[in-house]
Symmetry: D2
Subunit: 425 residues, 4 copies
């Protein structure tokens, strides 16, 4: 493995290459190969980007055709045929069946860009400045989004105070250790309704229905409805950040489908582009969207036609419910495997959390989790640690993973847990 | 032209589609076609992204091969062969000949991400918070970068105060109407050296050697050297934002090549990926880079292998000086054409500014400029307005534009100027 | 009553003159007279300044002698005999019996100045920026203190965001409607102990042991001890703001005497000067105080010798415990009278809260409270409304009030309650 | 000298006592005595408070009578006879002759309180947040005012970023070393008039007509008029901070009398109370003042009747012009004496600056200035260092100083200069 160039020339800030110390060369569906020819089953999927697998063959074909036909690749927010087809597909497949009339807004093609713009939207719509975010949230790394993100590791890098955001505990039902929930929202409501509490009326509540980086904490329907009601009662916008949990990851297109929620803004990115090429998009209610003037937030790379082309094919997976059913089925396999592991270490109180094909094993200890991730890598399976101190291992394979790869990956993982945690069990 | 889907479903914030009201479908080198078959000569080049032309054939070939061979597309900051080859090419072609030992840092693949990280770097390195930016600067749209950006149109969308940045006038030699220059820097130095001036010691000076969005203001070597000296004398970092002017645009790889500058951080994006797919990269001096802890700033899309593959080919254009010479030659053609136009309206005091193949005609009036842009579009040529109130038209065709397209485009432009400004001349 | 000059020339921001629409001319102990000769029994005491009565005869004598002997009146922080005698008296009477070794710090002679400096001390000592304050707190009107103050009426006047402060609910035992208490502190501790909660480690907790303006909310010993422990466990300073409740108001010199608390900083003002002339002083633990450089916080009026002269006499009231016993006895008379009133309106759920000679009747409705205050004024007794929406009437007569005035005042108040609330009872 | 109590118990932040290491006991007009009986001629005057001398006999008499007659001492913003008489005197003596219709606003009785409120007023009136202040300014120590103050010694104590203020160089005519002036204002205007300069429209310009702490920098009439015009052209308020230079110090009541200025807000404190007891007052144009709601900014000590009583007598000095003429005459004596000293050290380029009875000798070196101040103290004369690094010695004796004391003090000072600077001359 020739990593000299990286060690000599790449910034010390590089991270995942330390978790997976090899050089990857090829990938197909749920498998990656390094340049030594070793194969890895991918339960990391580009941090949730590769819902449809590495080098999805339908997308490959479409992309090659698009490139060979001299399709427009880069277009900012000019109109292109590829963008139109993507939008039509999105509107018809996702919005219309849900009777949603949200506007589609494109920006710089990263999740943090979409969050920044969602916050601007809320502040514009309300004339207020503070935003309520939740503990263990991850919303991005640029200053506006970073103020919502909670991990001190990231916050400490800001170099300036992170302002205008109030943090509250996440839903306790989600396994969140800080004990939020409906009662916490009642307390927060009382604070906001008292003109002498010290809290200012908020511009928005921003919530991940499932906190992926925060530890795979799955908010309950009741809690999300209560957050939404509180937001609307206070004249604030309700923003759902579905960047990692959306695009089919949990067995439905949005992670919050079927809960009766009516968010004012939804942020999407990661899986939206299908192939791993960048894209981000916000869904914004028309009554708020119309407050924008043209070009008030721009971004050079906001028209990514390769992502439109592949993303349109990704949306096709939701033409009917079969794909979602498969995701649920595979998610159940994952959950069962993790529950079985957890049951084997009953005195350690491992927790299993997740929804659909985002599942996590919380081992309660970042050092143990690190060993498990490392052992899995050695065994030929890629996964990553999340949550406070990296105490949980998150499993998010491509939704298209074959059953045999899924099971083999879970077996490798089980052995890594055994190696890391077994002795002290 | 079927734009219903856009008008009905896309956010009101969309901008360039209003300047170019058509639907593009194909593009090759310096030409774009809309779905009515009309051809446009592109003097906009994706806001400076498409330095090597739309669908550059060398890149097309490499990308198609990469995709068909199941190369890893999305990799965060794990190691891949494509990334290694890109880095090797960058180091050998760009850094080593200049005796630079900067580290390569990848982040979310947009310019604003790179600026956010450059600011974090400076604040980390100095323990200070304020940054000096310059009037008419454009550094991005996320809150940290937006605080450096100057246009009130963008700043007003923030919804919160934009802090920790001090703005100073840009180099007067650049045609900047606010009259900065060496004397202004002397005054600023006096302010900083007086412990009772009210200014805090800065973390960094961030400068675009050529302000593209700000009106194509080309800073002089003397002024840039003086800014660098002031920064270093004050213990601050000297950051050059070469996102739009870099990557060969001005007839050398960096827009500031040959000036004897030694920036601590250089931000790059736009043209770096070659094909129009996103990428951003900072060059950071090792003594500062080593202050990072792994993963303190992350970004899902920070490993874009299609951009690495095409970007490596783009770097090949700088293997020798021929390409740069061509850029200078064509830039001279552009400049001459604009000077000739300006000479035709001597009483209007049009100004021509630029370097290499970034040239602008400042007509002193946003309404006139708007008409010229619109007339050019009608005539089959794409360009955009920049500067305060949109008073200047910036011309940045692909560096690979054939001479005949270049001349035809300039002719179309001249006619549009005549139509918009001639009557009142 | 000639108020023309006020109505014509004084700022519209004037407030209490609207509650007491007359022109006062003389005052003695607990009585004030207006220029029509009408007498008022003072249960307001200059917002808690006049603990020793208007024109306390001992103080009058000392002040007249001091002035006639050409004593230094204004001295900034130079040394004067009057200051030395005040400090000696304070050290011997207050600090030494409590085995406290806090340093005495003088600043601009207003409570808000003392809070500003306490906050600077905490930030200096910890290198952190955020401060925890509590709902219904009042700490002052200048920007640093105002960020801690909670009433939106005051906060809205800031004109800039109020930053760097986190607000938490006050002790529920205090009658605070937001339901804080020990469990809330446990939740807050959990948030602070989780590195991914979004909260930054705080510089300080600032607490009023009794929130006077906030509605006369009396924190329990247990809760204050828990706040102190949480602060110290987090490496933060524990600041007690005893500006209104201190200086003997509650039957002991500090309102928190006897609770076993060990605050790092105590802010004092109001009653400290004895006579109604301004003074403010912080008590600061030596290990923090020594971090100051000379003159880092100044204030022209920080050496007020008239306040030192009268204040020294005020301190004499605490030479033995008799004065405190009288305060407790009179406080009991006040409490009993209010309890009797409240009992007469049982269906209205009036609440009586207080300690020593700071007692309040919470009538749950700002409009009713306003009528009671107005009726009391008409009847010849001065009091003021506090709490959210002005829902409670606070009674804080001079501690030296004669029993007959105390009882007459309470009778007037009872009649005003009857007139305002009786009909609807 | 018994300073044990101070050294043992007073905060390390104490400052002036280190410059004047003795314990003062008595004072009369321009003389102070320490407890060893040594006499000092006072050229410091309580940092500009004691314009009418220590223990002014007219004021002593009035205060003693007021106290002995049980006048109301402390009244917040209720109406009192003493306040009415003060206001009538101020309106008749100061406002009406100048055809000013400003409202009188009282707040916490310190200069920093008055500045905080002036800033709130400007932000309320304009809906904007940023304020323009000038290098070498001193406006106070609380966070809002401190953001305007320039000395890093003070700013570094804030512990949080000081925001929302832009600093510009002061008038070059004033001797300000940073080279501001009319051209600098033109440049600033150009910045503000360019929508892409990065500057936001300001809420106010706050200026000291004479910067006392900043080094006794006397702004020219032309520059002040230009600042005022720029403020008004930009829709911003023009605030004059006359806290130290006002109340007769310069030979007219306001330091800017006769310049044709029309400030929107004037801040006053220090000399206003006459006797050394605290008071502060803003003069606010009615059209802005009426934007306040009652009680939006409060302050316990904002009704200081001893200051009203003595202050009214102080205002009597301005019934005719004789007092101002004497101030000018004595100021000339001071200036001549300083010019003579400066002429004796021609190679050192000492500068003399000032107006009326605020005069300074700038010796260009803080260490030398410190020795001069120390030598003066030893010789029996009190003065203080100001300006960047403490490079200038400011002389501000009581306006009522007898000629013999004035001359003796200047002689002592001259000898101290000789001792400190003579050797190296």
């Amino acid at each position: 493995m020739n990593v000299n160039i990286f060690e000599q020339w790449e910034s010390d800030i590089r991270g995942y290459c330390r978790v997976y110390p090899t050089v990857f060369t090829k990938a197909s569906n749920a498998r990656q190969w390094d340049e030594n020819g070793k194969s890895y089953i991918d339960f990391f999927a580009g941090a949730g980007v590769l819902n449809f697998g590495h080098n999805n063959p339908l997308m490959k074909k479409a992309l090659v055709e698009y490139i060979e036909s001299d399709g427009v690749t880069h277009s900012l927010d000019t109109y292109t045929v590829a963008k139109r087809e993507f939008m039509e597909k999105f509107v018809n497949t996702i919005l219309k069946p849900r009777k949603m009339n949200h506007k589609l807004q494109f920006m710089g093609p990263t999740g943090t860009n979409s969050v920044e713009l969602a916050l601007k939207m809320a502040r514009r719509a309300t004339g207020r400045r503070t935003v309520v975010a939740f503990s263990h949230a991850f919303h991005g790394m640029t200053l506006g989004a970073l103020a919502c993100t909670t991990n001190n590791h990231f916050r400490n890098a800001a170099g300036v105070p992170l302002e205008h955001v109030v943090h509250q505990p996440f839903d306790a039902e989600a396994g969140d250790p800080l004990g939020g929930g409906l009662e916490a929202l009642d307390r927060l409501r009382a604070m906001y309704e008292d003109s002498s509490s010290g809290l200012e009326a908020p511009a928005a509540f921003i919530v991940e229905p499932i906190q992926a980086e925060g530890g795979v904490n799955v908010a309950s329907k009741e809690w999300l409805l209560a957050v939404q009601k509180l937001a609307h009662d206070l004249g604030a916008l309700f923003i759902l950040d579905d960047i990692q949990a959306g695009c089919g990851r949990t067995g439905s297109y949005f992670s919050f489908d079927g809960m009766g929620l009516d968010p004012d803004v939804i942020t999407l990115a990661k899986g939206l582009g299908g192939f791993g090429t960048p894209i981000a998009m916000n869904l914004v209610k028309p009554e708020y969207d119309k407050l924008w003037k043209p070009g008030e937030h721009t971004g050079t790379f906001r028209g990514q036609n390769l992502s439109f082309v592949a993303g349109r094919i990704g949306l096709g997976y939701f033409d009917d419910d079969e794909f979602n059913q498969q995701t649920k089925r595979k998610g159940k396999i994952m959950q069962d495997a993790l529950e079985k592991i957890a049951a084997g270490y009953s005195q350690k109180q491992f927790q299993v959390r997740g929804k659909g094909m985002m599942q996590a094993l919380d081992v309660g200890d970042g050092e143990v989790a690190k060993k498990i991730v490392s052992g899995s890598f050695e065994g030929g399976m890629l996964c990553g640690a999340v949550g406070t101190g990296g105490r949980a291992i998150k499993l998010i394979p491509p939704l298209t993973i074959p059953d045999e790869d899924l099971k083999e990956g879970l077996d490798i993982f089980a052995r890594a847990v055994e190696a890391a945690a077994g002795g002290a069990g």
